[in-house]
């Protein structure tokens, strides 16, 4: 019992020396590097998590803006398509109108030409008829004038015909 409860100066001395040694050695050699690398690692993990959160946020933000862009692009496309469609319709209508007009114009021109030609032909015909009539009259006159009877009768008829007026 005395051995158990007594305190030995020598043991106290060795225990003090030994414990202080181990404290200093462990602090310098083990706890320092271990604690610092634990801290580094924890900070690294915390950083990584924060970065991941940021990235996620960025991702969702990008996704939202992407969707906006997409929607915008779609609208733009629709707008452009509609516009193009309208434009093409208009162009087609214009072209159709114009060609109609042209056709009308050509037809009118053709009709005018035809009219002219007709008039010319009529005039020509009249001239020829007149000439033929003159020639015919000449022949007739020549014939009637050679005979006095005939000449008188002619004069008569002529005076009759024109003298009335």
């Amino acid at each position: 019992m005395e051995g158990l409860l007594s305190v030995s100066v020598g043991t106290v001395f060795w225990a003090s020396v030994a414990f202080l040694c181990v404290l200093v050695i462990m602090k310098r050699m083990a706890w320092g590097p271990i604690m610092s690398s634990l801290k580094d690692r924890e900070e690294g993990i915390a950083n990584a998590l924060r970065q991941a959160d940021l990235a996620k946020e960025e991702m969702s933000r990008l996704q939202a803006s992407n969707e906006d862009l997409l929607r915008e692009a779609r609208n733009e496309r629709d707008r452009i398509l509609n516009e193009a469609k309208a434009m093409s319709d208009k162009m087609r209508n214009d072209a159709v109108g114009r060609s109609q007009e042209e056709a009308n114009r050509i037809i009118a021109k053709a009709q005018a030409e035809i009219e002219n030609q007709k008039q010319a032909a009529i005039t020509d015909l009249k001239n020829q008829v007149a000439e033929l009539s003159v020639n015919l009259a000449e022949v007739l006159l020549k014939d009637s004038l050679t005979d006095d009877q005939k000449q008188k009768a002619l004069n008569h008829s002529l005076i009759k015909e024109f003298g009335a007026n």
């Binding site: 106290v12 225990a15 030994a18 414990f19 181990v22 083990a30 706890w31």
Partner: protein, 418 residues
């Protein structure tokens, strides 16, 4: 009492939950070491258990012959002197510090004796004090005028008689406990150096191997002992000490449970726990701030006549706290050893009566011993934890600043009430 109070008041559920986790782990480890525990039963006693019941009676006979022969050698050997087995002496012999390590049988490792006597150092091997007899027991004799009287070195002078009274000398010997402590220190340095190197090598990688095994305990001390008790700012300053104390005590406790090593009882040696408690006391006192001392010598918000009662109590508590720390650790570890040895002794005692009784009791003894061994593995961890936690709480108490006071006001009061 103090211990229980601290458990209840301090650190609430969180620490307890963590503690239970560790208790389960350690309990599980304990189960696997049943086989080892049984071996310890054989190893811790020079006469192995299974031989006991058969050989003990014969053994006792030869002992009585040996007894008469060795009287001149002033034999102190316990079982020997009376010719019969004395359980109390056997247990005391095993849990007390010694100047040699008994590995079992007649295998003794002598340790250096260093004596400061009348101003000069005497250094010699402890094997000069004894010779090992046929039973594997020690016959003590004097050397150079020194006598090993129940492991206390005395100076009796040359040719002193058997019952001469010597006077005590300054004994700086490397005793069993001191040797065990040094062994633990060497182990700790080797172990943690490799772990620290691993940390340096494994930067940015997950922990692996032994580092992985040690890391939960380091984090446990840092996050569940130091941080809650000391707060974030001050924890960094005290964590190295707390880690050292924790692993030192734990490994000392565990070394005491390793069979075939001579049954170290390092943390059951009062001189060693005294040093640990004294260091805690010194650190607490040195780091104690105005607030801490003010609380002790002029407790605020207390009427004058209560102060008269309270101040001496508070003052005494400064010393009582580390004393309790010291006694708790020593008592717990020693008690564990005593219980295991008692079961060994039980088998031996019955074996002396009759072989059948020896075997019969032996079976039960071994079962109980295995159970106790599991419990001791747990206690080894628990006591290291308790010591470290209380040290951290004392440091926290000493360095607490005024703001934190209100947060822990309740805890503080309860603590002070004791």
């Amino acid at each position: 009492m103090l211990c229980v109070d601290y458990f209840c008041t301090a650190k609430n559920g969180f620490v307890m939950v963590r503690l239970y986790q560790f208790l389960f782990i350690i309990g599980f480890l304990g189960m696997t070491s049943v086989a080892i525990a049984q071996h310890e039963g054989h190893a811790s006693e020079p006469v192995a258990h299974d031989q006991v019941s058969v050989e003990q009676p014969a053994h006792a006979d030869t002992n009585s012959h040996a007894h008469t022969d060795s009287l001149a050698h002033a034999s102190h050997d316990t079982a020997h002197a009376e010719g019969e087995f004395k359980i109390g002496e056997m247990i005391m012999h095993h849990i007390s510090d010694a100047h040699q390590i008994h590995l079992g049988g007649s295998l003794y490792i002598p340790l250096p004796i260093i004596i400061l006597h009348e101003g000069h150092l005497d250094v010699f091997s402890s094997s000069n004090f004894y010779s090992v007899n046929e039973q594997g027991e020690l016959d003590y004799h004097d050397y150079k005028g020194y006598r090993n009287h129940h492991e206390m070195i005395e100076f009796v002078g040359e040719n002193a008689s058997h019952d001469a009274h010597g006077h005590k000398v300054m004994d700086f010997s490397i005793t069993k406990s001191v040797f065990g402590m040094m062994l633990v220190i060497v182990l700790m340095i080797i172990l943690f150096r490799s772990v620290a190197n691993k940390y340096k090598r494994n930067v940015g990688k997950a922990p692996s191997g032994f580092q992985n095994m040690i890391e939960p305990f380091i984090l446990f001390v840092r996050d569940d002992i130091a941080l809650p008790s000391l707060g974030k700012k001050k924890a960094a300053l005290y964590t190295p000490f707390l880690l050292t104390v924790f692993f030192f005590i734990w490994m000392c406790n565990m070394l005491g449970l390793v069979p075939f090593l001579g049954g170290f009882n390092i943390t059951g040696t009062l001189s060693i726990t005294l040093v640990l408690a004294a260091i805690v006391f010194i650190i607490t006192s040195v780091s104690g701030n105005k607030h801490y001392w003010g609380h002790i010598f002029w407790p605020p918000g207390v009427p004058g006549f209560v102060k008269v009662i309270l101040v001496p109590i508070e003052f005494m508590s400064i010393f009582i706290k580390p004393c309790v720390l010291m006694i708790r650790l020593t008592a717990n570890i020693t008690a564990g050893h005593i219980i295991i040895l008692a079961f060994v002794g039980l088998a031996l005692m019955f074996g002396q009566q009759s072989p059948v009784a020896g075997y019969g009791v032996g079976v039960g003894s071994v079962l109980f011993m295995a159970f106790m061994y599991c419990l001791e593995l747990l206690v080894a961890f628990l006591q290291a934890y308790v010591f470290t936690l209380l040290a951290a709480l004392y440091f926290g108490d000493a360095t607490q600043d005024h703001h934190a006071e209100h947060d822990h006001g309740h805890e503080h009061e309860i603590q002070h009430a004791h």
